[in-house]
Structure formats: C-alpha cells, structure tokens
C-alpha cells in the first residue's frame, strides 16, 4: 500500500512537471502579447518595452520558469510592479486581475468545489440508481422511462438545460434566487439556493452516462456464473444484487466517475458561464483570452492536480470494491 502510494505520488509529480513545462511553452506560442492590452491608445513602443522589462517578460524562458517554480516552493520577490514580496506557495501576480494569483485561486476554487462535489454526488446516485433499477426491471415501463430519461440527458446541452431552468425557476416563477456563490460556512441555505440549479443541470446531463453504463454492466454481471451460483445457494435477492453483482458491476463506473469528477474540478466552464458563477473554469478561460500567464499556469496546474488525485483515489477504490485487486 505504502509503496503504491509513493510510486503514484512520484508519477504524479512527473505529470505535473510535464504539464507545467508544456503550459509555459504554449503561452509563448500564443499569438497574443499580454502587454499591449495593458497600454492605452496613445502608448508607444518604447514604453511597452519598458513594461515588458519590468514584468520580467524579457528574461530567458528557463529563468522565468525556474523563478516561477521557486516561488511555489519558497516564495519570491516579484518587484513593485507585481505587488512586492509573494510568500510560498507563490503562484505569481496577475497583471490582468491586479492581484496575487493565489488570492484569485482561493476565491474561485471553493466555487468550483461547491458546484462539482454536490453535483457529482447527485449524478452518481441518480445515474447508478437508475441504471440498477432498469437492469433489475429490464423491459418494464420503468426501464424504458429510465432509458428515455438518460437519452434526453445525453442529448441535451448544458447551456440549453441551464438557460431553460433559469428562465422558468428564476426569471419567470421567481422560486429560486439568481445563481450566486455564498460560502457554505457563512450561510448553507443561501449556498444551496444559489447553486441548486447548477447541480441539477449537471446531474441531469451526467447521470445519463452513468445510468446507461451501470445498466449495461449490471445486466452483464447478472448473467454471469457467480451470480447464478449465488442465487442457487439460496441467498436472498438483496444480497445477490447488492453484495455480489453490484460490486462487480460498479468497477468501470468508478473509473469513469474518477475521470469525470477530476476533469470537472479542473473547470466547469460552461456551467459557470451559464449560471454566471466565477469558478476555476471561467477564470482559466478568461486568463487564456487575456494572455495572463500566471493565472493560466495556476489553473492548469490545479486542474492537473485534480485529475491526478482523482486517478489515485480511483485506484484505491478499486481495491476496496474488488477484493481481486491488490495494490503494490
């Protein structure tokens, strides 16, 4: 177990390193000059050059990268143009938002977590639940209804579902407040009220995949020998389905869920845009648009951390669910 964890951590660090180098290089391949956008209409080339100098954009690439990495570990002095001393973990200074990137991240990350985690719980419960029910009631109206529901979810787009929900529940009926983010620690009710539409629309769309996947897996498992054996032993239905079949059927679902949740934590940009929330996803997209390297780096790295972490969690879950899997 310990060996497994260490190995995974090392490969995670390597992944993050590669991601960070690629992001850094890609930024310089972008056609956009971050400085020209900062300059008013009567700016001249000489002044632009001085701003570039001041922001360290003229230093060699390697030293810019090394400086950035050093900042994360030990903090560094960014100079007066970028807010002065920046303590570890220093993610740099955004000259677009005019604040330390760490401040941006600590503000937008809770928004994304608040959208994704409850939504993921909802879509897993809903998706796996529907899949199980339709597998066990195969061919009945319940099965068909569940399949229809998931087909609808899989074919619709979030910006459409979200806009319809907003129009009906917020603008026309006025049952729900305009989506906004409040910290769950300040006011849990307001937190839920402001995000519930985002959860529902994400859950509706995502649960479709899980319903179909878990239905198929469950049907396959139910036809296997060990299930027949279990039935033949005279085990109660609940034990056969719940303990034996479900465990085997759910493994692929866990894999997909790990990837989905990891990716969603990296940024649910469409959800955030539809509901006017500012989480990691929108921050990242806006940073790319503005050529805001420090913010791009931070958002990309954090997304990568989530995906890597989600994969480790999935592996651990495998071991817990399926006794045949041994970590080591």
């Amino acid at each position: 177990m310990a060996r497994f964890l260490i190995r995974r951590m090392l490969s995670a660090v390597l992944t993050l390193f590669v991601v960070s180098v690629l992001t850094f290089l890609m930024f310089f391949a972008l056609p956009r000059d971050p400085v020209s956008g900062m300059c008013p209409k009567n700016c001249n080339p000489e002044r632009l050059e001085r701003v570039r100098e001041e922001l360290g954009l003229r230093d060699p690439l390697i030293s810019q990268y090394a400086g950035y990495m050093k900042g994360i570990v030990t903090g560094r002095d960014l100079g007066s143009a970028q807010g002065g001393r920046c303590d570890a973990p220093c993610l740099g200074w955004s000259y677009v938002n005019n604040e330390a990137v760490l401040d941006t991240v600590t503000r937008v990350l809770p928004v994304t977590l608040s959208i994704v985690i409850p939504a993921a719980i909802l879509w897993l419960l809903l998706g796996v639940g529907l899949g199980m029910v339709s597998a066990l009631r195969r061919g009945t109206w319940l099965d068909r209804a569940a399949i229809g529901f998931s087909l609808a979810g899989a074919s619709l787009q979030l910006y459409f579902v979200g806009a319809v929900l907003l129009l009906v529940f917020v603008y026309n009926l006025g049952w729900l407040p305009v989506p906004s983010y409040t910290s769950v620690f300040d006011d849990p009710l307001k937190w839920a009220g402001g995000l519930v539409l985002a959860w529902l629309s994400l859950a509706f769309l995502f649960s479709a995949i899980y319903a179909r996947l878990s239905r198929a897996q469950m049907l396959e498992t139910l036809s296997e020998d060990f299930v027949r054996t279990a039935r033949a032993k005279g085990l109660p239905k609940r034990t056969v389905y719940g303990r034996h079949a479900l465990r085997a059927a759910i493994t692929p679902v866990v894999t997909i869920a790990g990837l989905d949740v990891g990716a969603a934590l990296g940024g649910t940009v469409i959800t955030e845009t539809t509901f006017g929330l500012r989480g990691l996803g929108r921050t990242a997209v806006e940073a790319v648009r503005a050529g805001d390297l420090p913010t791009i780096m931070a958002t990309v790295l954090i997304s990568a951390v989530f995906v890597v972490l989600a994969n480790v969690v999935v592996d651990l879950l495998y071991a817990a669910i399926d006794p045949r899997v041994r970590l080591g």
């Binding site: 056609p31 956009r32 000059d33 020209s36 956008g37 900062m38 300059c39 008013p40 209409k41 009567n42 700016c43 001249n44 080339p45 000489e46 002044r47 001085r50 701003v51 001041e54 007066s80 143009a81 970028q82 807010g83 002065g84 200074w93 000259y95 677009v96 938002n97 005019n98 604040e99 401040d103 941006t104 503000r107 907003l166 129009l167 917020v170 603008y171 026309n172 006025g174 407040p177 305009v178 983010y181 845009t273 006017g276 929330l277 500012r278 929108r282 921050t283 806006e286």
Partner: protein, 580 residues
C-alpha cells in the same frame, strides 16, 4: 462597446460580443435621439462649479443600486482607469480637478470638481494653468484634500508600474512620450514632476513648454484624482482605492462583486454634479450580457433596482424593442464612438475616387447589417454629434442608400480596384461583406483581405500598410475637436508605425489651420473645429464617415436617473436613484 484601453490592441473584441452577427427586427416605437447635439461650454462663473447639484425631480435618498456587468472593471485605481466601465464607476469614489455637468442630451458644461473653476489660463498662452482647490473637500478618513494630494496623484501616474491610464498630463508635463524616463517617480516620491507645483495648499500650478489649451478637459480624466502619499499602496490600490468621492469601497471581491457605501466625509455642498442618492452601489460581475439583460427585463425582487451595464445583446433586441411596457425602462442613445471607412490617401491619391466612395455609401444597408438603429446610428461628419462646436453637414449627400449617378459621374467610366482590409472578428466581417456588396454595386472592384483581429490595429497603424481601405474607430477622451481632428488628420504626426492618422492624410493648409485653432482660447475653439471638420471632408475626403455606436441599456422598474454620458457613451450614475 469599444473598450478605450483596447483601442491600442483589440478594440473589436468587445464589439464581437455586443453586436454578434444577427440581423433583427428593431420593431416600432424605438427611436434613437439623433437630433442630440453638443452645446458644450466651459464654466467661467465659479458659482457653476459650486455644489450642491440641483435636485433630480422625484429622486429620493436610499436603497441599493446594482449594476450587473459581464466582466470586472479592469482598473479601479484612478491613475490607471481608462476603460469605459472604469470611467463611469470612478466618479462614485473619486473626484477630479474638473468634471462635466451633463444633461444626458449632449448639453455639457465643464465645471470645477475639486477646483473652484475649470482652471485659470494665467498668461492666456495656455502654457501656465492654475487651479484653486475648493474648501471643505475631504478624503474618506476626514482629512482635507489639498493641492498636495492632487499633485501626488498626478505624480504617481508617472510610475511605470501603474500601467493602463491616460498619459496626456504626463506627456505634456515631461514634453515627451517617454515621460517615465524623463522623470522617475520611484526615485523622487517626495518631489513632483517637472512643471507641476503647489505654491500653497490651495493652489495647483501646471507649467508647460508648449501651449496646452485642452488642459481643462484633460484634467477631467481620473489622472487628477487626489491621493495622500501615505495611502499609496502601489499596484494594490487597484483593489481598494482611497475615496475622495461620495462613496467608498466597503468590500471588493475581485471579479465577483464590488460594494460601495457612503463616504460620510463627502460634502454635497462642494459637488456640482454628484447626487449620491442610493445608500449603496453594488457592481455585480459574472453574468453574460444575455443573462444580465434577461434578469433586468424579468424585473424580479432585487433586480428591480438593477441596471444591465452591457448593452442589450442582439438576441434580445427584438424582444426589448417590441415590448411597449419595457420602454420606460430602456435607454437608447448614440454615443461619441465614431466609425469610419478610412481611406489610405497614400494609395488612393485621386480625390475623385475618395469622393465617389463617399457618394456610394449605403448607410441604411450598413446599419441594418450591423443590427439596426439600436446598434448603429448613421453619420456624415468626422466628429460625432456630441462634440463641442459640432456642425451638422453632409459633404456628399448620398441619400440613405447611396447616389449611383453621382458615383458614375465622378468615376468617369473607370472601375477603381481597391483592397479593403478587415479584422477577422464578427463585427468587421459583417461591415466588410456589406461594404463590398455596396461598393461593387456602385461601380468599384473591392478585394477583401482578412487581418488577424489581434494585429489589425497595429498593422493599419503602420505607414506602409498594404490596404487601400479599412475600418477605423475613434472615441475621444473629451468632446473637443482638439482631441479628434489633430489626432486623426495632422499629417506632421505621421511616423513609421503607431499612427492614429490612419488615412495618412497630410495637407499643409489643413495643418496650419489646426495650429491656428489650437492657439485659440479653449472656449473659442468649438465652432472652428466644426468648420474645419467640414472643410477636410469637402476638400479632401480622407474617410467615409459611417456610423456612431449606439448605447442601448435596460434597467429595473425601481431605477431612475440613469442617462448615457454625453462624453463617454455609457450609463452615468451621478443622478441615479432607487425608487421606494
């Protein structure tokens, strides 16, 4: 619509968002006030600069006014403010040397804000200017505002760390565009830049090497907002500016929400324009233009006292324009942001061809293609109607859709082949396609060449650019001909790159006339610029004036007093109030 800051880089990006490509039915019952004209003057009587501002009929104190906007305001630090949203937000918490009394219909009076008058032209040569600071003006901590803090504000605008703000004062004081090398703010924090002095706590004195007759206008920009040196937090001031105006920052979640509450030390008796009726202003960032306008149209709960700062997007125009019940809640007004078909006069040297282009233009078709009269308002002059001394004329009456006979006559059987460079953004693509059809119908041969959106402005600013025609936009920083005609048509300013004179027009007689007008007292210049505007078009036709951008905003049913600034073309908040 066009972020002023982005004029240097990517002016059209915002346009893409606002205009889109949809054409739509604008419906009946919605008219743009096209008769609006500037009748601007400079207040000479100190009484006009004194407070309090005349009450807005029916306005009451209290309530929270919410302004919903898609993206955050790029800078709050007054010395760095240059975007339209910033210029509209700043007066809530910052006061300047001078400001505009604006009736929202083009009637403008330049008055003293912190200063008792809009400046004294000491020797009548525009080289030495003095401002006297009003009594009773205070910062949010109760300290009095003196000439020292105003001077410090101007001094810190020399700091290269504080990018993005206007640079007029700095360049004029240092007498070079490289002002930050001429005077180093960081090394001289206790001193003042060359030419700027404070003889006493009430007097601020500017001494320039060249006549700067536009100074009273230039000091209406936020560069002159005061700041005590001990409150200067450098780049961090952007998120927590120190207030000299009626409101102060209560909370600022960058990119999410900016909350402003009352500054108890602001005295209305000193302020000629601001009313500060609402108790609180909340800027809420995040919702798209569609979402924000939908919310305000729905008019539920707190949104009844909200304004969508982003203009009504194309997807909602038909709905808003077609709903008579919404009419009292919409504002539709042309802005001073003017768009032209710029003719590269180095390449199109034949005056007749340039005049023919002017006769050929189908402004009605263009406005339709752009989305109708809620987006664009046709114009035939170089200066927008909201310029002091504006003269309405049409040098080449082309009717609504162009005068084919006149074009034929001028071209004399020739088919000029012209290359039209257009940025690859939705807005310019729409204009480009429309113009090609329009001009080819009239007898030209037009080749469209796409220019990457990011690079377009830099490219057309190069003297040797390879295009005959391109689309230009100019929104002046103050409504004076001096900030438009010499900037765009003085041929002596032409360099290898970075040109604002994008028609590369250079005529000795016109240049001399500009010098003559610039030497006049600011108050006398207005009508002269109007005449010169017409003369340039009649004699030289260096552009085809196309249209002015139109502001189209919706607010909730409890909002009152919002008007479109005659100076910047965006909603102004000085008269805003919340109905109980």
């Amino acid at each position: 619509m066009r972020p002023r800051v982005a004029a240097a880089a990517s002016g059209a990006i915002a346009l893409v968002v606002t205009l889109g490509a949809c054409s739509k039915n604008t419906g009946e019952g919605t008219t743009v006030d096209t008769n609006r004209q500037q009748t601007g003057v400079i207040a000479t009587d100190p009484k006009e600069s004194a407070g309090p501002a005349a009450e807005v009929p029916g306005a009451q104190k209290g309530g929270t006014l919410t302004i919903i906007r898609e993206t955050a305001i790029s800078h709050l630090d007054p010395q760095r403010t240059y975007s339209f949203a910033g210029l509209m937000a700043n007066p809530l918490f910052a006061r300047y040397l001078t400001t505009w009394k604006d009736d929202g219909k083009g009637g403008l009076v330049l008055v003293g804000d912190l200063a008792e008058t809009p400046g004294k032209n000491v020797n009548n040569d525009c080289k030495v200017w003095e401002f006297t600071v009003k009594d009773g003006v205070k910062f949010e901590d109760g300290r009095p505002i003196t000439s020292k803090e105003i001077a410090y504000g101007i001094a810190r605008s020399f700091d290269p760390d504080l990018t993005s703000g206007p640079t007029y004062l700095q360049e004029w004081l240092a007498d070079t565009p490289q002002f930050d090398t001429k005077w180093d703010f960081k090394a001289n924090k206790t001193a003042l830049p060359p030419g700027l002095t404070t003889p006493d706590a009430k007097t601020l004195r500017f001494e320039f090497t060249k006549p700067r007759c536009d100074l009273p206008f230039a000091v209406s920009l936020p560069t002159t907002a005061p700041l005590p040196a001990d409150k200067d937090t450098g780049v961090n001031l952007d998120n927590r500016p120190f207030s000299s105006g009626p409101y102060k920052v209560a909370a600022n979640q960058v990119g999410v929400q900016l909350t402003l509450d009352r500054n108890p030390n602001w005295d209305p008796a000193t302020d000629p324009v601001r009313h500060a009726y609402p108790d609180t202003f909340v800027w809420s960032f995040g919702p798209t233009a569609d979402a924000a306008n939908n919310r305000v149209i729905a008019d539920n709960g707190p949104d009844q006292s909200a304004l969508a700062f982003n203009f009504v997007p194309p997807s909602l125009v038909a709905r808003v324009a077609g709903d008579a019940a919404l009419k009292p809640r919409t504002i539709l007004s042309p802005t001073p942001s003017a768009n032209q078909l710029v003719i590269n006069t180095q390449r199109v040297t034949d005056l007749k061809v340039r005049q023919a282009l002017n006769y050929a233009i189908d402004r009605e078709g263009l406005v339709k293609a752009l989305g109708g009269q809620t987006v664009a308002s046709p114009m035939t002059t170089l200066m927008p109607p909201s310029t002091i001394g504006f003269k309405a004329y049409d040098a080449y009456p082309a009717g609504a859709t162009g005068d084919a006979a006149k074009v034929k006559e001028l071209l004399g059987g020739q088919t000029p082949e012209l290359v039209l460079g257009v940025a690859d953004n939705t807005n310019e693509q729409t204009i480009g396609t429309q113009l090609k059809t329009n001009l080819e119908r009239a007898g030209f041969k037009i080749t469209l060449r796409n220019i990457p959106d990011d690079a377009k402005l830099d490219e057309v600013k190069k003297k040797d650019n390879p295009w005959d025609l391109y689309i230009g936009n100019w929104a002046a920083d103050w409504p004076s001909g001096a900030s438009i005609l010499p900037v765009l048509y003085d041929g002596r300013t032409i360099k290898a790159e970075g040109n604002s004179n994008q028609s590369y027009f250079n005529d000795a007689a016109i240049n001399a006339e500009m010098d003559r007008i610039l030497a006049l007292a600011p108050a006398e210049q207005g009508p002269e610029w109007g005449k010169l505007d017409e003369r340039i078009m009649k004699e030289h036709a260096p552009v085809v004036p196309l249209y002015a951008d139109v502001a189209y905003n919706v607010h909730g049913s409890k909002v009152g007093g919002i008007f479109i600034s005659s100076v910047f073309g965006y909603p102004s908040f000085v008269n805003a109030h919340v109905k109980p």
